[in-house]
C-alpha cells in the first residue's frame, strides 16, 4: 500500500526560485494537511484541505500556496523561496475530521534555500 507519497525527497533552491512539493494519497481521504518541521519546534500547520476544491490557511501560511483539484493530490507551492523556508515538509491525510482519526504522513521533503 502506497499511503501518502511525497516528491521530491530532497531539494536545494536558490533564493527567489519557485517550486512545487507534490503530495498524493491513495486512501480516499478527504482531509489533507501540509506541515513544516523545524528543529526543536515540532510540526506547524501550513495549509489544510477538507476536500477537493476546498483549502484554508493553517498557522504559518505566508509564502506558500496550495490547490486541491482532486481528492488524491494536494500540492504545495513556494513562489519566491526564502532562507526562512528551509525546513522539512510533511504532507498528511486522514479520513475523519473529529480528531479521532489517525493521520498518515508522507516521508517528508527536505528543502534547503540558499
Amino acid at each position: 500500500n502506497a499511503g501518502v507519497t511525497q516528491t521530491p525527497k530532497f531539494r536545494i533552491l536558490k533564493i527567489g526560485q519557485s517550486m512545487t512539493l507534490q503530495c498524493t494519497q491513495d486512501m480516499n481521504h478527504n482531509y489533507m494537511y501540509w506541515y513544516r518541521q523545524d528543529p526543536g519546534m515540532g510540526l506547524k500547520l501550513i495549509y489544510y484541505s477538507v476536500g477537493a476544491g476546498i483549502t484554508d490557511k493553517g498557522e504559518v501560511p505566508n509564502g506558500y500556496n496550495v490547490s486541491r483539484s482532486t481528492t488524491e493530490d494536494f500540492p504545495l507551492r513556494l513562489e519566491l523561496a526564502a532562507p526562512s523556508q528551509t525546513s522539512v515538509y510533511f504532507c498528511a491525510s486522514q479520513s475523519f475530521p473529529t480528531g479521532r482519526g489517525e493521520a498518515f504522513f508522507g516521508q517528508g521533503t527536505r528543502l534547503t534555500v540558499v
Binding site: G40, M41, L43, F96, P97, T98, G99, F105, G106, G108
Partner: protein, 115 residues
C-alpha cells in the same frame, strides 16, 4: 491557547531499560491526545491515542501512555527498550474545529539507545 510541552529534548537509555517520555499540555476541555514516532528519514507514525474512557492506553510496539487530567500529562512508557526504538517522539493534542482537526505538536524528544 493550547500548547504541548515535552520537557526532555534528548534522552539516552540502555537497551532493556525502562523508558518514560514526558508530555504536558495546556487545554481547556478534554483533549484528544496522541503519541507519534518518527524514525530517521521517515514520516510520523501513530503509536497510540487517547480520546476517552480508560486513561491507560496501549499502543503499538509495546508502548503505553497514561492520561492524568489532574497533572495535564500524557506520559509515554515502555518497560524494556529495544535498539530499534531509537527515534524522535512527538506528543500531540487535537481538538475539533468547525472544519478540521487542529492538532498541536510538541517539540519532540529524541531517544538514543545504548546497546
Amino acid at each position: 491557547a493550547q500548547s504541548v510541552t515535552q520537557p526532555d529534548i534528548h534522552i539516552t537509555v540502555s537497551e532493556g531499560a525502562s523508558l518514560e517520555l514526558r508530555c504536558n499540555y495546556s487545554y481547556g476541555a478534554t483533549p484528544y491526545l496522541f503519541w507519534y514516532v518518527q524514525s530517521p528519514g521517515q514520516g510520523l507514525q501513530l503509536l497510540l491515542k487517547y480520546f476517552s474512557g480508560d486513561t491507560l492506553v496501549q499502543g503499538i510496539k509495546g508502548f503505553e501512555a497514561e492520561f492524568k487530567r489532574s497533572q495535564s500529562s500524557f506520559n509515554l512508557r515502555k518497560p524494556s527498550v529495544h535498539w530499534s526504538d531509537a527515534a524522535e517522539y512527538f506528543c500531540a493534542v487535537g481538538e475539533l474545529q468547525t472544519s478540521y482537526d487542529k492538532v498541536i505538536f510538541g517539540p519532540g524528544t529524541s531517544l538514543s539507545v545504548i546497546p
